[in-house]
Symmetry: C2
Subunit: 313 residues, 2 copies
C-alpha cells in the first residue's frame, strides 16, 4: 500500500477486470453469535459501497427462526435505498415466502442456495437435492418474471464433510438444473475449503463443456486450509471474472471443522491489484471499513492484509 506496493505486473492470460461479489454483510454477519444492530449493518454496507464494491449481498429473507442474526431484513433493506441506483444489493430467498418479502421491499437481485450433495441438502435444507431444486423452481421463475436477477449458490462443489470428494459430474448436473430453471449466475461454493487448483480447473472445464458459459460462473472459496487465493488464481486463469469474498474475512471461525473462513476481500484485492486487474475497490478505504467493523464485533479481523495494513501505519 505504502511505497507503491503491491507492485503491479500484469499477466496477459488473466482477465483485465474482476467483479467482486461482497458477502460479508450477509454470509459474514449471519455467522455471528449475537445479532449485529441494524444500524451497524446499514453503516457497514454504506461503507463497503463507498470503498467501491458494486455488488454487496445485503441480507437474507430466510425465516428468522433459522437465522435470527438476519431477522431484521425488513428493517435493514429500506435503509439501503440510496445505494440502489449504483450498487447491486442481492438478498437470499429460500422459498416463495422469502421472495415475496424481498420483492415487496423492491429487491432487484435475489439468490437461492442449493447443494451439490445429498448430505448437505439434508443438513442445511432438510430436503433431498431434488426437493430443494423443486422448492427453488417457482422462486426463480417468479423472480425472473418480476424482473429480478437471480443467482444460484451451489454448496459443497469440491468436498463434503460427510461424503468426501464430490464428483464433478454431480456438480455439473445440479448446475445445469439451476441454469435451466433460469438462474442468471452460479456461485460455486467450496464450503469446507478443501479444493486445490487442479480440481478447480477441472470442474470449470466440465461446466463450460456442459454449455455453461464462464461469464455465468462465480467462485466462492473458503480459506479453511489456506487455499482460497490459489484456487481463485486458477479460476481467473480459466476466465472466471466473478469472485465472492468477505470484507475482513468475516464469516465464522476459520478454526472450526464446520466450514466458513471466507476469503477476505482485502487479500483478494491485494492479489488482483498486484496483477493489474481492475476491481473498482479502494483498498485503503476497504481496510478502514474492516477495521471499523472489527471494532464493532470486538475482535481482530482474520484477514492478513487487514492486519498488515492496519499495523503498519
Amino acid at each position: 500500500m505504502t511505497h507503491g506496493l503491491p507492485m503491479t505486473v500484469r499477466d496477459p492470460e488473466l482477465p483485465a477486470r474482476v467483479r467482486i461479489y461482497e458477502v460479508g454483510a450477509r454470509d459474514g454477519l449471519q455467522n455471528e453469535k449475537t445479532a449485529v444492530p441494524t444500524g451497524v449493518k446499514a453503516e457497514f454496507i454504506h461503507r463497503l459501497a463507498a470503498a467501491g464494491l458494486a455488488t454487496i449481498e445485503a441480507t437474507s429473507f430466510v425465516h428468522p427462526k433459522w437465522v435470527p442474526q438476519l431477522a431484521d431484513a425488513e428493517a435493514l433493506f429500506p435503509q439501503l435505498g440510496d445505494l440502489a441506483g449504483s450498487t447491486r444489493l442481492p438478498v437470499l430467498v429460500p422459498n416463495e415466502r422469502g421472495l415475496d418479502r424481498a420483492l415487496a421491499l423492491g429487491a432487484r437481485d435475489v439468490a437461492v442456495f442449493a447443494s451439490a450433495t445429498e448430505s448437505f441438502a439434508r443438513a442445511n435444507l432438510n430436503r433431498t437435492v431434488d426437493e430443494a431444486l423443486a422448492m427453488f423452481e417457482p422462486v426463480v421463475t417468479r423472480a425472473k418474471a418480476a424482473g429480478a436477477r437471480v443467482r444460484g449458490y451451489l454448496s459443497m462443489c469440491f468436498g463434503d464433510p460427510w461424503e468426501g470428494p464430490v464428483p464433478a459430474a454431480q456438480v455439473v448436473a445440479v448446475s445445469r438444473r439451476l441454469t435451466d430453471m433460469g438462474c442468471d449466475e452460479l456461485s460455486l461454493g467450496d464450503t469446507i475449503g478443501v479444493a486445490t487448483p487442479g480440481q478447480v480447473t477441472a470442474l470449470l472445464g466440465d461446466l463450460t463443456g456442459a454449455g455453461i458459459a464462464t461469464d455465468r460462473i462465480g467462485v466462492h472459496f473458503h480459506d479453511t486450509y489456506g487455499q482460497a487465493l490459489s484456487n481463485t488464481l486458477a479460476a481467473l486463469r480459466h476466465g472466471v471474472t466473478t469472485v465472492d469474498a468477505s470484507a475482513g474475512g468475516l464469516g465464522g471461525c476459520p478454526y472450526a471443522k464446520s466450514a466458513t473462513g471466507n476469503l477476505a476481500t482485502e487479500d483478494l484485492v491485494w492479489m488482483l491489484h498486484g496483477l493489474g486487474i481492475d476491481t473498482g475497490v479502494d483498498l485503503a478505504r476497504l481496510t478502514a471499513t474492516s477495521v471499523w467493523m472489527a471494532e464493532q464485533l470486538g475482535r481482530p479481523s482474520p484477514s492478513r492484509t487487514v492486519r498488515a495494513l492496519s499495523h503498519q501505519e
Copy 2:
C-alpha cells in the same frame, strides 16, 4: 485428510515432484522471544524428518550476540547425527568464522544470506550489498572446496519496506553474483510478503533469461498479505521445484509490519498433494508435529491447515 480429501487432480503444466525446504527449526525458532531448549529443537527436527521432510534447515552459526535463540548451534548439531545419512541439514553461515564452526561439526550444506536492496543490507548486515557479497565470497569458495553444498538466500526480492517495489534487474544482478561465486542454489525471498503472481512470473522469467536455470531457484514466500500460496502456484507453473516453508507457519508474528509470517508447510502440502505433486511428506504426521511444537511454544499454530486438521478429529 479424512474422507480422502483433498481430492487429487493433476495439472499437467506443473512439476510432478516438489522439494520442500523446511525452515521452521531455524527461521521459525530464530524469531521466538525466548530460546527454545536444545532438546526440544532436536526432537522437533527428528519429528520433521520422520514426517518425510528431506531438507531441514537446522540452525545458524551467526554470532550468538545477534541471534541468541540459536546460540546452541554447537550443542544441537551433533544431536542430529543420526539423520545425516537420509536428511540434508543446512545451516546458516554469515562469515568465515561461522563456516569454520559449521564445517568443524561436519555440516555438508551451508547457506549465506544476501539482500537485493541496500536498505535491508544495511539494516540486517550493517553493510552495503557489495560489502556483504564480498564477505560471502570466501565463505562460498571455501565451503565448495570443503565439499559442501551452498545456498544463497536473497532477501527483499519483490518489495522493500524502505524502498518500495524492487526492480527485477536489481534482483537478477545480485543473483548472478551469488551463482557466479559458486552458490548451487538461490532462495528468492519475499521478506515482507508483498509479491503477487505476475511479479513472481516476471522475475523468474528474467532470471532464467539471465542464464540461471530454474532448478537452481527456490522460492521463499511470506504470508503477510495472504499471498504466499498463490505466488507458489505461479512459481510452480514456471517450473520451480524447490519451495521454502515453515512447519506450522512458525516464524514470528504475521501481524507485524516487520515481515515474517512464513508460508506454513502444511498449507503448502495440502495444495501440492491436491495437485497430485509428490512431496514425500506425511501430512498427518507433520500436522501432529506442529501441534506438538505449538504446545511447546504455548500458542496455537497460525497454519490454517494445522488448525483445521487438529480440530476436526
